[in-house]
């Protein structure tokens, strides 16, 4: 997905209030033609509300929505020609699968042979032919999902909106259906907006991810950007499992060399001194480091690595990997990931090393990343 893709839908300062409670606040967003965009956030963060506003099911309290630079804020959902897949699929349970698929086409007054042709075509692609004349209420979950997808595809919408469509699946099946979805998206090449609270789902499916928290966009970016360059403390702690270690530190200089220090650590920071001095809470900062960047120190590590002692507090084996909770000398608990099977016991004293290149620094007041 390149940045040159034309903008399909644009949200401009969109705000939604329900009885005085703000669900979505001043949200700016671009949806690019052909991309798979994921809305990711904890439940109740406003991602579904945003999706419903794009669909026209909710009217923004303030702000505008544009479709190819045409203002559609006031358009009723019927006029937008977007497909919307609900969490529970919302099939017309009193109708057969065929009738479910033909419903939108009938409304669009297609001739009956055309309807027949289109329904058969989509049924063939999504392998729904054997169940075409089964009542929708009799289907199993994964078939329901395919019917729901077929129903929104058959009207050839310009945008597909999916609201946590994999929530009802048990874990094993979930990964399978996720792969299916990704395959379908490539196959149909349509723009999709996909809402989920599952970061793994967002990271595997999305071309871009919009991280939403408390009604605001925290960051928009590719999965890699979101993971490696989180824009805010929220994104940093929300994305990744186990989540990023966040350590309060202070900025200090010794011998014309800049450091951030905590009771346990002293990390040299080279080039980003100027940005730091400009921060509001200077000299207080928050240092973030991913658990997989904390290593059990050994001699092969280069000398510029930062080392500090700690004590193993808890071991959570995960087969090939294990998660260690370690306690620093000042009592701070950090999480790290190491290879499984290493003979380590709770209470053991270890030395931890990390590459100072891998740290991120945040401003504790604005919660934004400085570096």
């Amino acid at each position: 997905m390149t940045h040159e893709a034309p903008i399909l839908v644009r949200l401009e300062k969109v705000t939604k209030e329900f009885n005085g409670t703000i669900a979505v606040q001043d949200l700016d967003l671009e949806i690019w033609e052909g991309e798979f965009l994921c809305f990711l956030g904890p439940s109740g963060c406003g991602k579904t509300t945003t999706l419903r506003m794009i669909a026209g099911l909710e009217r923004p309290t303030r702000g505008e929505i544009y479709l190819r630079e045409q203002r559609i804020t006031d358009w009723p959902p019927q006029r937008r020609n977007f497909g919307f897949m609900f969490q529970n699929y919302a099939l017309f349970s009193h109708m057969s699968v065929y009738e479910n698929l033909a419903f939108g086409l009938r409304i669009r007054r297609f001739p009956s042979n055309e309807i027949e042709r289109k329904v058969q075509a989509i049924a063939r692609v999504l392998e729904l032919e054997p169940v075409l004349h089964v009542r929708a209420s009799r289907l199993d979950l994964s078939t329901m999902q395919r019917v729901a997808l077929a129903r929104i595809l058959v009207i050839e919408p310009q945008l597909l909106l999916l609201d946590e469509p994999l929530n009802n699946f048990r874990p094993g099946l979930r990964e399978m259906m996720r792969a299916e979805l990704k395959r379908w998206q490539h196959q149909f090449g349509r723009t999709m907006v996909y809402v989920t609270h599952d970061q793994e789902e967002a990271l595997t499916l999305g071309d871009r991810i919009v991280v939403i928290n408390a009604g605001r966009v925290e960051q928009v970016g590719t999965p890699d950007e979101i993971y490696w360059r989180p824009a805010t403390l929220f994104v940093a702690s929300f994305i990744g499992r186990p989540s990023m270690n966040l350590i309060p530190v202070q900025y200090q200089e010794f011998d014309h060399q800049a450091y951030v220090i905590s009771p346990d650590l002293r990390v040299p920071i080279g080039s980003y001194r100027d940005d730091i001095i400009k921060t509001t809470s200077f000299p207080n900062l928050i240092l973030g480091i991913r658990p997989e960047h904390l290593l059990l120190s050994d001699l092969s590590h280069p000398s510029h690595f930062v080392r500090f002692p700690a004590e193993v507090d808890l071991i959570r084996p995960l087969g090939r990997k294990q998660i260690l909770d370690v306690k620093t000398r000042s009592g701070h608990i950090l999480q790290m990931v190491s290879l499984g099977g290493k003979p380590i016991a709770v209470g053991e004293r270890i030395e931890i090393a990390f590459d100072p290149q891998n740290i991120l620094l945040f401003d504790p007041k604005t919660e934004k990343r400085i570096y």
Binding site: P77, G83, F84, Q87, N88, F92, H94, F103
Partner: protein
């Protein structure tokens, strides 16, 4: 059932039988009474099976005073039955249909759009909060000046109004049970609100509508007080007619029982026809 043994089986059916008999006893008695000649109506000891069964009670309903026998002599002055029967068959289905249609539309608006605010659904109930007789006098005044007394339309309006609270609340419950997402899916498919209402919501609550319709039908079919007050000759309904066989003029229990049995037939037929929907209505929440 097998493992529980025949004792359990027997006691279960015993209990069912006793309860059924207790419930049905009056019906059985009326049925038996309708075939009894006058001397057996109040005979002591009472008989369950008529000693001299007769169809006279039924015949005099249609030709009072005409055929042979004691009963005909007694009810010579009564109105022949066809007219009240036809009246009931006009007034009750129409008012039931109106009540259900209006109830559905109103319930939809209330359920989906909160139409009328919080107080409206409640205020509709007030029509059923007073003893019906409390409405009789003001309505009588209105009806007299509007010329609605003893007319079909007068009864239809009244029955529709007084059963509306019932159908509105019952149907609202069923509409509330239809997931909003299903309707939204249809809207996103391009359907208008009206289309959604009639092609999605209505079919989904068909069973509920049938149940509501049956209850409202029975309420209207057996309504006595308003019919007695607001009709005199032309628009007399069945319950009023039934009452006329045991009034100031005498106590003709036989024809009264016979008419009661005849009057129950349409309700039985209606109930039978929609019973498959009824089952679905009462298990609505389970089969979604």
């Amino acid at each position: 059932m097998q493992q529980r043994g025949w004792m359990a089986w027997l006691s279960l059916w015993g209990i069912v039988l006793v309860i059924s008999l207790a419930t049905l006893a009056p019906v059985i008695w009326v049925f038996s009474l309708s075939f009894k000649p006058p001397q057996e109506w109040l005979a002591y000891p009472p008989t369950l099976i008529p000693r001299q069964p007769t169809l006279e009670n039924y015949i005099v309903l249609f030709w009072p005073g005409n055929p042979v026998g004691v009963v005909s002599e007694m009810v010579r002055t009564a109105e022949p039955v066809p007219r009240p029967f036809v009246n009931s068959l006009i007034v009750v289905p129409i008012s039931t249909a109106l009540s259900i249609v209006i109830g559905f539309l109103a319930a939809y608006g209330i359920s989906r759009f909160g139409a009328g605010g919080n107080f409206l659904p409640f205020s509709v109930l007030t029509t059923r909060m007073f003893p019906p007789i409390a409405f009789a006098v003001p309505l009588l005044v209105y009806y007299r000046s509007l010329g609605l007394i003893d007319t079909h339309i007068g009864l239809i309006l009244m029955y529709t109004t007084f059963t509306l609270a019932f159908s509105l609340w019952m149907i609202k419950g069923f509409i509330d049970g239809v997931p909003r997402h299903i309707e939204e899916a249809a809207i996103l498919d391009g359907a208008s609100r009206w289309r959604v209402m009639f092609t999605i919501t209505l079919p989904l609550i068909r069973g509920g509508l049938a149940a509501a319709a049956l209850f409202v039908f029975i309420m209207n079919w057996t309504e006595f007080l308003f019919a007695l007050i607001f009709t005199s000759r032309f628009a007399v309904t069945l319950p009023v007619q039934v009452s006329r066989y045991a009034g100031a003029v005498g106590r003709y229990y036989g024809p009264q029982a016979a008419l009661g049995i005849l009057a129950s037939i349409p309700v039985l037929i209606a109930g039978y026809l929609i019973q498959r929907y009824l089952v679905r209505a009462f298990t609505f929440g389970l089969v979604k």
